[in-house]
């Protein structure tokens, strides 16, 4: 296309001009094989990666059609090296397949005996293989199914796993669609997973991943183990499952630090599974001593390394990964691909927002001046205390107070990192505070109150803002908290992106001390948010104080 919407760069990024007439078609076409890297207002950047291309192969796309899409939409000549690279990379997936042979059991088979020769010569692979059956087939020790896939991926020859799954112990589970229905994309996600066998579903925060899990369970009709990040998330899963499925309290067990229940559906935390006692993982029996038909991994991008290790041992069980992003900051994307499975479904954040399932949001950075005394204290502070010194400036309290007053009647969260700062704010604003020290019972009560609208504002610490569900929060005011990882920011943003009943725009305020490291963190945040396509605006605290700015 001489005037296409897409520009293919030599560093394997794809630039999509979204105001172009053909942009929507192009986006749909490239999303299948390229990872969306950033989506600011005019031009979105996608990236071609090996894993992305293999995910596309797993979904049935071939190199020919990928190249065809690029050539069709590209404005300029596509660098030849990239076309070759795509063809070569994609041709590597599926040359090796894991299958179940009626006589020999688990086998590794190939369409290209040279590839098989290459991989079985690899030192790491050799001990996982049994006897050679013919030039194109070799036996695999069933216990090595996962580790073999990991090793093959590292060798650049990812195997397609067609060896099937055990059914697990049957257990009837139905969705209870009383007064609600599964959203179309949730249904497609669950079905995409089920047909693929195992794999990952990528959905933005607030898009209802729990329901995709529930739908998958209703397809599996079997006992299920759900792995979640922490106890609060475990309770939420439990509540959601009770509400949305035929499961009753007796059928759902919690396996955490405080309780060790094993039921037909068991929800376990990563933490309890990775707890070591006397040098060994004390609770791994939970995973391999029970006949689970389905294992669900919540927040796959946070899966700790030991969980991968035991996941390698349970490759004959169906695995569903749920996440908002495939990007892992530890670079373990390959482990997710080989051990949990390829991406089975994803849908862009903005598309779900456009369908009205996620609230639109506006991001506002409020620049606060330090007082002269604070400036001098900041200048001479030891490097490790610098951030704390500027992030906890007194002025922020005054601004937070103003903002809370301004948004009277809306559901407001004040988020911060330092407990004394949060304590002071709580006192000054007269609203309750939740930190990591708050007992779970009290925490749940406060959340419940917030959910039901009895409480309009909460001060929460960073600890409290993972995997909690605050459906009607429309305003978030962040007073401190260095720019964390990208996922952490995505999570935090997700807190206020749940759909609002009246469809109003959510607001995300960040209070930033001018000319300090606080501002540097803010710049990272700005970049991140703008890359996600959120509008971002800077206002001066002084203008707010004198009421000279429209918020």
């Amino acid at each position: 296309m001489a005037d296409g919407p897409l520009i293919v760069q030599s560093d394997k990024t794809l630039l999509l001009e979204i105001d172009h007439g053909a942009a929507d078609d192009c986006r749909r076409a490239i999303a299948a094989f390229a990872e969306l890297e950033r989506s600011p207002e005019h031009i979105h950047t996608y990236r071609l990666t090996s894993l992305g291309l293999w995910n596309a192969r797993a979904a049935g796309l071939d190199a020919e059609s990928v190249i065809d899409v690029l050539l069709r939409y590209s404005r300029y000549a596509v660098p030849h090296a990239i076309l070759i690279d795509i063809a070569e990379t994609m041709a590597r997936y599926g040359r090796l397949r894991l299958e179940t042979h009626p006589v020999h059991g688990l086998i590794l088979t190939t369409t290209d005996s040279a590839v098989l020769e290459e991989v079985i010569r690899a030192k790491k692979v050799q001990p996982m293989l049994g006897k050679r059956i013919d030039s194109e087939t070799i036996q695999v020790f069933p216990s090595e199914r996962g580790r073999l896939k990991q090793s093959l991926l590292k060798l650049g020859w990812p195997a397609e796993d067609m060896a099937g799954y055990v059914d697990g112990q049957a257990h009837p589970i139905e969705l209870a669609e009383n007064g609600w229905t599964l959203r179309p994309y949730q249904r497609l996600a669950a079905e995409g997973f089920w047909h693929g066998g195992s794999g990952v579903v990528v959905l933005p925060c607030g898009a209802g991943k729990t329901l995709v899990g529930a739908a998958a369970m209703s397809l599996a009709q079997a006992t299920t183990l759900i792995l979640v990040t922490n106890t609060v998330a475990a309770r939420q899963w439990r509540n959601e499952l009770l509400k949305r499925t035929s499961l009753t309290e007796d059928e759902i067990g919690e396996y955490s630090g405080s309780r060790k229940e094993i039921r037909a559906v068991t929800i376990a935390t990563y933490q309890v599974l990775t707890t070591k006692r006397g040098g060994v993982y004390a609770h791994l029996d939970l995973v391999d001593q029970h006949d689970w038909g389905l294992i669900i991994y919540d927040e796959v991008h946070l899966l700790p390394a030991p969980i991968f290790r035991f996941t390698a041992d349970i490759q004959s069980r169906r695995r569903l990964g749920l996440t908002a992003t495939l990007v892992r900051e530890d670079g373990l994307e390959g482990e997710v691909f080989s051990l949990i499975g390829p991406k089975r479904y994803d849908v862009p954040w903005k598309e779900i927002e456009a369908q009205g399932y996620i609230a639109p949001a506006e991001c506002i950075e409020v620049r606060v001046n330090l007082t002269d005394a604070e400036r001098l204290a900041y200048a001479t502070a030891e490097p490790e205390h610098k951030y704390r010194t500027c992030a906890t400036t007194r002025t922020k309290g005054a601004i937070a107070k103003l903002l809370v007053e301004k948004h009277q009647g809306e559901q407001i969260l004040v988020i911060g990192q330092y407990l004394d700062q949060l304590g002071t704010l709580s006192t000054e604003l007269g609203i309750p505070v939740i930190t990591g020290d708050t007992p779970i019972k009290e925490r749940e009560e406060l959340f419940q109150g917030f959910r039901e609208g009895e409480i309009n504002a909460l001060v929460v610490s960073k600890v409290a803002n993972f995997s909690i569900d605050l459906p009607e929060a429309t305003i978030a005011i962040q007073v401190s908290g260095a720019f964390g990882s990208r996922q952490e920011e995505a999570q935090r943003l997700g807190r206020i992106l749940r759909p609002k009943a009246d469809g109003r725009t959510a607001r995300f305020y960040t209070l930033v001390a001018r000319d300090t490291v606080d501002q540097d963190f803010a710049q990272n945040r700005q970049r991140f948010l703008a890359e996600q396509g959120y509008s971002y605006r800077i206002v001066d605290a002084d203008d707010i104080l004198i009421g000279d700015v429209e918020l």
Partner: protein, 731 residues
Amino acid sequence: MSATLRPARSLADELRARSDENLRELFLLRPDLLSPLPTDITALAARASAAPSIARVLDGLTTWEIQVLETIAVLSEPVSMEALLAITGDNAIAPVVKFRALALIYMDEEHIRILNSVRESLGPEPAGLGPVGFGAKDRWLKKIDAAPPAAQAMLEKLTWGPPRGTVSDTKKPTSTISWLMENQLLVPIDGQTVALPREVGIYLRGNKVHRERFDIPPDFVGKELALEDVDSAAIGAVLEILHHIEELLHFWAGEPAAALRSGGIGVREIKRASDELSLDEKYLVFIAELAFISGFLVLHNDEEFLPTTGFDLWRNKTLEERWVELATNWLSTSRVAGLVGKSERGYIAPLGPEIDRSAIAHIRRVTLELYAQISPTTVDVAALAERVKWERPRRAFGNHHDYVHWIAREAQWLGFSGRNALTSFGQALLTGNADLGMQKLLPKEIDYIMIQGDNTAIAPGPLQLDLAREMSLIANIESKGGATVYRLTDHSIRRALDNGRSSDDIKTFLGKISKTPLPQPLEYMIADVGKRYGKLRVGISFSSYIRCEDQSLVAQILVDKKLSHLQFRQLSKGVLMTEGDTHEAIDALVEAGYFPALEDRDGALVARKHDRARAKTKARPPRISVDYARPSDDLIGAALRALRAGDKAASHRKSAPITTGTPSETMGTLTLAIKSKATVTIGYADTDGGLSERIIEPIHLLGGILMAYDHGSDEVLRFAVSRISGVAIVE
């Protein structure tokens, strides 16, 4: 051609009998014969049979041609065409015609005579056959079938060469050897060596000289493509390589690459540049070499490589001109970038002395001409290597797979080829066509960018040169290709301020060329940097000082651990002092996140320039080995006239008496000779009074001085007309 030639007794005879057309063809095929020009045909024949010239010709023959030539060389003279074709088949006719045109052979009646020097150049055992035997054929033929089994086994061993065998003593042979020698089936070479005679070898080979005839050139055709697709794929590469060379040289201008003591650039420097620019190392080596042979990069003060002003001149040319310069240099260079890297002899460095290979330019041209033969069909590179080896077995052997692979790779990087087929402009350049037609293929320049909320600015096409320059000052380039992605950061803005822009300049410039409104946070950032810049002044007096009115900033600098190595001392309120170099101090401050500005003695801001280092050394691009250029028609014409005249003069010297004439007669004859381009013999008085006879070609006559080409000395000389005793025109 052969029909016009009559039988000859020697090569000189045959050459003399050739028509001008024939000789012209010879000069086109062997341009080395023209420099220097032989005086007459005898000298030409001698030059044509000189070993270096013969070697040059043989280097240009195909595998099949060598096989035919070897066959001629091993057959007993005189070789009849029938005898040759009986062994080689009819495909040998074309090579024989070519050999005659090349003057490797000449015809004596019906028979082929091969030059002794050609025979010598083919080696002592052509096609692995031994020396000429001396037995009568009918005698040994009778014996050979009756040979005892042991003798037969020995013959079999020697049949396909090497034809020699070692024995303990040829004077006291074993019974088998003795039997073979008696029957002339083996001949003694020296005390310990026996050999299979040539004729016997050919007989045993089944009346063959070579086990396999390579008379069909190997195929190398790949996929058929449309020329537009080939061109458009290559244009992408063209744009990239032009950009990458600039990027690399800018990088080395800022951080010059240290030279190795043994010459060239070390592996660590290459790796550093490749990491910095995210370019493949092999590709980076290639573009570095390309810059080197183009004179854009030079060894400066024997310690580091720096860009030259030649690079700046090149940068100001159009895209097409820039490409042509690179491509032309690549075509003729004798340097092989592919050799760079680990080898048995240790690391071979780019830009070093170890990668000159005299054969590569020739192989490169042969390879590209093969591309041209089938363009726009793609080549199968592995098969192409075999074909190149077939085309030039004496030049491309052993390494041909590597060489052709590298040539194919470099052609692709350079955009000479696209998707492994020759591009239209590559073909035009190869054939010397001045109009490459690249203009319509290059994307149109654009004059706008799009700025986004994440502080990136995207130029969705090639940006106008001046805008691109300004943008790369204000912003960092994040991704290149059809489009350019720029990222605006506080550091990049600072760089623009360093270069004398104000924050208002930057805002205005961006506002003017951006199609999208400036994001509000970006305006904040530009203003912030502008505000902080210049607050902190670094200046030079006896040492470096820092001046700043902001007390808290001064306090911060004093306690900053990242700056402790500068050992700042506070002189007075708001003034710090360091013994270190001013620029080092500024760099350290920038590194630590401050925004210092440089000021002069009067306190005015001084713009700091970046990436501007240039070598003062003049670039001397490395040796370029080229085949002899195709001689022009004029040159050949003049050479032919001189040769014929010289030849005649040599053979008729005595019978053409020089008539002594008056000066006006002499002038008249000389003028006539100049007009008719005739050769003349003159009598010339030397300075010591002696009279010599010279054969010359008058060129022009002015003021009593004759300029003429003198056959004796092979140069153009001045002759005083007053000293010419007489003139005779050579017929």
